[in-house]
Every structure is written in structure tokens, then in C-alpha cells.
Amino acid sequence: MSMSQEEIEALMNGIELDAGDSDDEEPVVDDTPEDNMQEVPSEVLSEDDIESLISQNNVTADDVAEEPTIAEDDSNTTINDDDIEAMLASIGGITETPTPVKVVEQPKKQAQTAKTVQDNHKEIEEIGSSWASKKVEEGIFPYPAAKDHKPLNQLSEVANDSEEKASKIFDVLSFILDENNVIQQESKKLDEFLNKQIALMQALSNKFPNIAVFDANHQSALELKNSVKIINSRVDAENMQLFEAMELMQFHDINRQKIERVMAVIRKLSGYLNNLFEDDGSHKEVAVAKHIHGDENSDLVGGDDLEALIAEFNKQ
């Protein structure tokens, strides 16, 4: 059930608009001893005073009209702290006491009133916004047609972003490939040196078979050469994997084209639906029924309720 503007404003100011409260407002004047009212003429409020108080406290004109015992007086008199407190308390439990104010200070009060109205609007907007957000989260309302929720914008963003990232991934793969090439070139130099070492150690080992260190170095050089060979074959295998990864990146382009195809379908569908639902623009707003028979709504009246209502109104 939605709240009326008055109810929302009342809620913002801590004022309850139910029947009980309107009764509470009455005693303000009723409780005041009649003698007291007569003895202290300064307590009598002028129409202007009432208006300014109403505007300060967001009390509607109707509420003020219901105050029966306040006598009208044109005299511009001041009101004291106690009076204001009593008035505010009677309106809705507002106990904050303003400093003694002369009712005649209109510009200051108007500014205060404007500020209060602005604050109220802000708070109402906040309440409305949080209520709408809650409904969106519950799935009752759709997401607003903002840029972040428009499918075409999102798809276009996805396609462009993934293109950018794919390019960066390709940079990384290319870098690894280039580095692998450098490793292989450097290992060639190492291999050439090891070949020379092996030849030298083999010659020395053959010439001096009794010197064990030549043979040991020869064996070590052979082992290192084998290690270089293993490194090269590993780098080759890694390069093959990199080439495969690069080839697989073609799927990025394929997927982008699939997204673009979906985007084209949405655009065409959007155009078609717009054409389908638009009219020639010469229509007039037609009043539509709020409650129709068959609606699932607790506010609907049944046959008996209707008769009872009619009967009740006919009595009056």
C-alpha cells in the first residue's frame, strides 16, 4: 500500500496522522484554563502567527482550522517559550524548544520554512530511492534503463574490453616467445663452447689416461651438453604450446562475432518492437479503470460489500 504525500511528510516530522493524534491536538487549547487565557492576552495568536507556526511545523491549514478555542486577534504580540513548547508538544511530540522568536520576524522564518521543505524533499527522495532499490532487488521492478543495464551497451563493452585484453594476452605470449628465442640463441653459444671443451678434454684424456681429472672434466662437459639439449627441447615444447595458445585466441575473434550477431538481433528486435507499438501520435490520454472485476486486489468490493455501502450512504 503506497503512502500519501501527507503521510510521508508527517512521517518525516514524527507526526502521526491517525485518528488518535487529531484528538491529541485538541486538548492543547482545551486543557488551557479559560482564566489563564483571559488573563494573559499575549497568549492569543494572530492569524499570521498561526500561519508561521504551521509553516514551521508542517501542519496543514485544515488542522489549524480545527482549533476552535483560539480567538482571532489582530494584535502583533509575542509568544513566550512555554507557549511554543506547549504548541509543539501538542502537535506531535516535538520537544525541541526554539529560542524565543518574535512572530513578526517573517523573512527569517520563511528561510527556515524553505530549508525545512528542502530537507523534507531530500529525505522523501531518499526514502523513495531506497524503496525502489529494494523492489529492484526483489525482482518486482526491472533494472532502470541506465547505461550499465542496457544489453547493447554491455555487450559492446564486453566485445571491446575482451579485444583489448586479448591483445595484451597476445603481447605476453609474444614476449615469452621472444625470450625463448633469446634463450635458444644463447644456448647455441654454450653448446659451441661445450663442443670445444669436450673435444679438448677427450684429447687430453686420451693423451694422459692416467690423469683422472681430464676424464672427469670430459664426462662433466658431456653431461652439460646433454643438459643444454634438454633445455632446448623443453623450450621447443614450450614454443609449440605458445603457438597453440595463439591459435586458440582465434576463438576470441569468433566469440566477438557471435556477440555482434546477438547485438544485431537485439537492434533489429528493438526497431521492430518500436514500430509495432508506436502510434501516429494523435492519441489522447484515456482514463483507465483502477479496479476491474477479476483483479486480485484486496481493495475490491464484493457484491455484499457494495450493497452495504450503498445502504449506508442512503441512510445519511
Binding site: E163, F243, M246, E247, Q250, F251, Q257
Partner: protein
């Protein structure tokens, strides 16, 4: 030999370029263009031995580029390979009628591109 690679996807251009390099070409052996308009500009300004082009591109698509190359300019006899995601029979026939020499459907492997390049260059 100078190769012109035409594709709106920068990733795809790099993939094709990479495959071409695997086949023994260097970076200086190929140029890149992101649509038919830019490709046509390069073709009018320089000399190329083969064109590898995508089909679906903005401004001027691959099919329009092929038709333009076959009609105008100095490259009317240049070998053209279309590399595209369009895998339908009708599309292949349309491309061949427009004047492409060979046709590769994405995704492709380096071997397939090598095979097709060799085939086109021999002719």
C-alpha cells in the same frame, strides 16, 4: 614477397602475422589493415604479392574489397585468400564468384594456412 593482412580484429591480424612468420617470413614482409578502405589505400600506394582478408569488417567489407581489387587498380591479378568465420556453402560460393583464390574458415591452423599459401603461390 610482400603480404597484406586485412582484418578488423587486431588479435586476428597478429595471429595471422605470427603464422606467416612461422612459415619463414619476417615482420617486414607483411603489412596490416583494419578494414577494406585502409587495405585499398595500401594497395594503391604499394605493391603486394598476396592478400589475406577477413570478410566481416566495418567501412568496406572483405567481399567488397575483393570485388574492388578485381575491378580496379594495379592488383587485379593478385592472389587473394579469404580468412573468415563465414562457413556457409553459399558464402564460400559468393566469395569464389567475387574472385577469391582460396578460402579458410576460422579457426585455422598454421599448417592449413601454409598449405593454402603454397597452393595459391604456385598458381
Amino acid at each position: 614477397m610482400k603480404i597484406l593482412i586485412v582484418d578488423d580484429s587486431s588479435t586476428m591480424r597478429r595471429i595471422i602475422g605470427n603464422v606467416v612468420m612461422q612459415l619463414g617470413f619476417s615482420k617486414s614482409d607483411f603489412d596490416e589493415a583494419e578494414d577494406g578502405v585502409k587495405a585499398w589505400k595500401l594497395l594503391t600506394e604499394g605493391t603486394y604479392d598476396i592478400v589475406l582478408t577477413d570478410w566481416n569488417m566495418p567501412n568496406m567489407n572483405g567481399l567488397e574489397l575483393v570485388q574492388k581489387i578485381r575491378k580496379e587498380g594495379t592488383h587485379t591479378k593478385i592472389p587473394i585468400i579469404m580468412i573468415t568465420t563465414e562457413g556457409g556453402k553459399a558464402e564460400v560460393v559468393t566469395a569464389l564468384k567475387a574472385g577469391v583464390n582460396n578460402y579458410i574458415v576460422k579457426p585455422f591452423s598454421a599448417e592449413i594456412l601454409k598449405e593454402k599459401l603454397d597452393g595459391v603461390m604456385k598458381k
